[in-house]
Structures are given as structure tokens and as C-alpha cells.
Amino acid sequence: MMADENRFYVSFPPHVVSGKSVSGLMYDNLIALIPAAAAALYYFRAGALKVMVLAILSAVVCEAGMQKFLKRDIAVKDGHAVLTGLLLAFLLPPTMPWWMVIVGSGCAIIVGKMIYGEYGNNPFNPTLVGWVMLRLSWPGKVGDWVQPFGGMIPDPPLHVFKFDGIEAFFDYDFHLLDLFLGRQAGGMGTVCIAALLAGGIYLLVRRAITWHIPVGFLGSVFVFGGVLWLMDKEANLNPLVHMMAGGTVLGALFLATDPVTSPVTRWGKLAYGVVCGVLIMVIRAWGKYPDGVVFAILLANTCAPLLSKIKPRVYGKEKAVA
């Protein structure tokens, strides 16, 4: 801002801004995550509190430290790091050893984001980078699931399906309502679909996200899952289970919608959602990982710049220019 000798500000147009700001987006997101955080506390008690607090604190400290190191403005109060930490905690079991939570948060912030300079430059979703680094190093700890308060077993439904087979899955007799309410094992913030949907609706109403990614994402999971199911109901899960188990809903509403790592245009976003959903189903059907949401979104992140090349039609541009 150039304050002039004649006391008027001279700056480039426009001279007004819409109310939307980056930190506003982050706080909207945090508000939207409150129901899911409450559900995590309800189902997993003190363990959940410990992991969430630790993840957030270490993310904030790492971010501030990196910003200082890079000699950039300290911007932790914008809330990016809080969001990254909280979302990371949501993907972890409440039994995670404290130092692994710190390592995960640190990797998320440092390798996933700050090494690229600042928020907005990182090509990959930091939360997911942190989680994958933990998952590759300590699969046992990241997969150390516990039985939620009121749940039946300490194994997430998709794990039962992948490792024990569909018969075992049917034996446990998972009810969709249980899954919807969160009485299932899994990452502490992924289990309660009802709470996540409430947060998602809040985001849509606040226009923090558009419908394109969630619809493309959930729609393709449903359609792909449905086709598999219709082909062989004995060997495949009901598509509704695919949508309500594992990280599907958290992914569709909060992880894939990260603007920085998703495409820019609306059509690009829709395509990106579809890529996520299809990759999830490919991994669930043929891969080694039972859930696959995190990997699918990371893979979609790598495609995001290409999907951003789906451009709107420009005014007056002649069609085939030789």
C-alpha cells in the first residue's frame, strides 16, 4: 500500500474485496469439523483427545518454525496448520504412540507443505503426505484399530472384507445405521458419517466448497461399487457400505476438496472427484490396501495440474485454429 503525501491510498483496482478470505475458509472448515471431532471424542474418549491435541500442536509449531526458518511471515493464526493437524488426527487410531503423531504432523507440514514455500504452492495434500509416511513406516501402529464405544469389533469393516473375506463380513452383520452413526472401527474422525455430512453441508452452504468434487467422488464410488455388486452380490459389498465405511466421506468432503491440491475449473473438479472415486474402488477391489482413500486422493493430486487444463471456453476464441 502506497500511502501518499496527499493522504489518499493509491492502489490497483478493484478497490473492494469480497468477504471471502483464506483464513475464513480455514475457520469455516474447522467449524465444519467440530461435529466429527465431537463424535471422535465420544467414540474413542481420551485417546482421541490426546492424538488430536498433539497433532494440532505439533503441526502449528512446525509451521511456525518453518516460516521463521524461511524468513516468511508467521501465519499460523490463519489456521492452515490447525486444519492439517486435525485432519491427520482424524485418519489415525486413538492408540497412536505420541511420538509417531509428532513425526506424522511434522512430515505433513514440512515435507508436505512448507518445503514448497508456503500455503498454496504444495502440489500434494499435506495431511495425506503425513499419513502415508506413517503408514509406510509403521503399518502396525497406523492399523492398530480399537473398538469404538458402542461398536461391535475393533476391525474396520473394509479390513474385515479385505483380510477375512466377504463371509466374515456378513457374519458380523454390520448395519448401515451403525456405520452411519459411527459405531465402526477406523480412523477416529472417519467413522461418524452423520457428523461428517453435517459439516459438509455447512461447507456447501458457506460456499467454502462447491458440489463438484464430493458429487464426482461419492457418485463414482457408488456407481463403480454398484456395478461390481450387481455383477456378483456374493463376492462384493453393497455400494452403500463402500460409501459409509473407511475414509470415503471424510475424503470426499474434506480431503479431496482441499483447493490447493485440486483442479481449478468446475469441470476439472468434477473429473477429479471421479478420478478419486474410481481409484478408490480400483484399490479396494484389486489392491493391497483395504481402504485406499488416501492413496487415491494423492494419485488424483498428481493428476490435478493436468485436469486444470480443462479450460472454460474463452469468449470469442475461434474454434479450430490451424
Binding site: 524468513k71 518445503i115 509406510l136 513406516s137 509403521w138 501402529k141
Partner: protein, 198 residues
């Protein structure tokens, strides 16, 4: 004096692969442990020194047009010798390093030094240059290997166990993505050290 300088250049001023960003593939592939890095580095050093020496001797005889072809023949021959020796006497390492032994032939450090240095300088300087860059490469590989091994497996030189039995290694480090990320961070840190600023 200049021989000494040619030697030390490769150890710091353009130590590969950090300053002279060449030979990335072997650096990424074999640095899962310090001893692998050491072995690969020494094998490369052998080829580098021998080819530098021979090319320097022949530098006046080789016509310009066929110089790359000649270099490739010479380098490839030394690579085959290394392959044979390693099979005979370091078989385990030979298996671990795998196709990266034959790939020394395309390691641009070697062709690069042949083209940039040995083809123009006397034999002693060329040997010094080869030794310097070879050792520089070896040191780099060993350090990266040690770093990844310590964090990723909790050992050093595959034998020395550094932590207690409860240690849970950060095994991400010894996996392929760990190689890329480690080397990227190493390069960044080297940039900070050499430029003195972020």
C-alpha cells in the same frame, strides 16, 4: 599443486551428485545402506580413474569425430572388468547393486569427466581428477546411505545396530519415495551451506 587442486575439487567444490548434479539414479537406488553406497562409490571410482587415465593417455590419438564412441568403448570395458571382479570377489554386493553396476557405463559423471577433463589434461591430473570426483561421489553415497540406513533401519553398515531392541525404524526412509525425498532435502541443505542463505 594443480594436481592436488584437481583432486580436492571433486571432494567439495563440485562434489557429485550434490554440486555436480549427475549420477542421480545410482545415488537414489543404492543408498539404502551405507555399505551399498560405499561399494557403488568405489566401483564407480575405479572406472572413473581408469577411464580418465586411459583417455588422457590416448587423448592426442583419438580423432574428434569418434571420441564419444571411443570413450564409451573404454568406459564400458572397465565397467565389464568391475562386473567380473565383483562377481568373483564381492558377489553379495554385486547382487545388491544389481543392474546399477552395468549402468555405470552411462553414468554421466564418467562420460562427463572424460569429455570435460581427461580429454584435455595430462595423465596425472586426470587421475587426480578421477580420484577426487570418485571419492567425492563415494563419500556422498556413503553419507546418504548412512542417513537413510540409520533412520530407516536403525543400523549402520548393515551390521552395527545403533538402538535398543525397542527401536521402531522410520522405514519410509529406505523405501523408494524416501530416496527421492532424502536426496531432495540433501540437495537443498547443500544449497543452504554453499550459499549461506535460505
Amino acid at each position: 599443486m594443480s594436481v592436488w587442486k584437481d583432486f580436492t575439487d571433486g571432494l567439495w567444490k563440485d562434489i557429485p551428485p550434490f554440486r555436480l548434479v549427475l549420477g542421480l539414479c545410482p545415488t537414489l537406488a543404492v543408498t539404502t545402506a551405507a555399505d551399498n553406497g560405499l561399494g557403488m562409490g568405489l566401483a564407480t571410482t575405479f572406472v572413473l580413474v581408469c577411464s580418465n587415465a586411459l583417455i588422457s593417455i590416448l587423448r592426442k590419438l583419438i580423432p574428434k569425430k569418434v571420441r564419444i564412441a571411443s570413450y564409451i568403448v573404454i568406459i564400458a570395458s572397465f565397467v565389464v572388468m568391475v562386473e567380473l571382479f565383483m562377481q568373483a570377489y564381492f558377489y553379495r554386493l554385486y547382487i545388491i547393486l544389481g543392474i546399477f553396476i552395468p549402468l555405470i557405463v552411462v553414468n554421466c559423471i564418467i562420460l562427463g569427466r572424460a569429455e570435460a577433463f581427461a580429454s584435455k589434461r595430462p595423465i596425472l591430473n586426470s587421475i587426480a581428477d578421477g580420484l577426487g570426483h570418485g571419492f567425492g561421489f563415494t563419500i556422498s553415497l556413503t553419507i546418504v546411505g548412512a542417513f537413510r540406513e540409520i533412520l530407516g533401519a536403525g543400523t549402520l553398515f548393515s551390521k552395527i545396530t545403533l538402538f535398543g531392541p525397542h527401536f521402531m525404524p522410520f522405514s519410509f526412509m529406505v523405501k523408494p519415495p524416501g530416496a527421492f525425498i532424502c536426496l531432495g532435502l540433501f540437495l537443498g541443505i547443500m544449497n543452504i551451506i554453499s550459499r549461506g542463505r535460505v
